[in-house]
Symmetry: C2
Subunit: 150 residues, 2 copies
């Protein structure tokens, strides 16, 4: 998705937000929704037409054997939408088009959702050290990566 | 995976843990790895041979349109392994079998990994209110669910 498309999506979403404390659970209601902490294990890098998952060097041991696979699931974080307001959006017009009927975010791949986890299947082109070159990914450069799975 | 199999896996993993602060980033090194907060949007329930994703009632609007799909991706949290030690494990013997060569956790589906996010494709059998009956899922009862995607 291009930047302009994403902006379009964000501007056209219908905000049906959570009236409850869930959207701000991390600050006000730990008992109801204790929550869990995730952190980046790497980042999406895009340079010179190449797309690379650059894994934090501390996690290089976690890549052992990954070269046996042709493709990976990449789980990453929609960090640009990490506000209580956007995480409270529960329904959107898919692809930001108001002509598309309203859908719940769990019935779409919208980048606004309670937990901002994105999921893409990517082909592995090469692995060298902490760098996994992939065929592409629908993510902004420098997006935080949370997990890699075969 | 049965409980005993999981215990077997956990007892036989080779602990190659992170010497750095990443495994305890949430408490000591916010600057290096700021991290993000996720929280349950529902839970896996298993009763009477049925498996149900019970979505928190606040999120019912987010299910609008999900009935158009035959299957969903369910992202859930390996909450029983949520300790700094287990999140620091970077290599395991797949399926807990010491005869299997050591593999990086990013080259396996092991339930010990830096971010404890699990991923399963599940068939939808029915949807009623906040309950999505599915064909099954490799998760303990009452496991927290983080996201649902078509």
């Amino acid at each position: 998705m291009t930047h302009s498309k994403l902006l379009s999506l964000l501007m056209s979403v219908v905000i049906i937000s959570l009236p409850s404390s869930h959207a701000i659970a991390e600050s006000e209601n730990e008992e109801l929704s204790p929550g869990y902490q995730v952190w980046p294990i790497g980042w999406v890098r895009k340079h010179g037409g190449k797309t690379v998952i650059e894994v934090d060097e501390a996690y290089i041991p976690a890549l052992l054997g990954l070269d046996q696979f042709d493709a990976i699931w990449v789980l990453y974080w929609f960090d640009r939408n990490d506000t209580p307001e956007r995480r409270g959006i529960l329904q959107v017009h898919p692809r930001g088009n108001p002509d598309n009927p309203l859908r719940g975010v769990f019935a779409t791949r919208a980048p606004v959702r309670p937990n901002l986890i994105a999921l893409s299947r990517c082909r592995i082109l090469s692995i060298a050290g902490n760098r996994i070159e992939i065929d592409g990914i629908d993510a902004f450069p420098d997006t935080p990566v949370l997990d890699i799975k075969p």
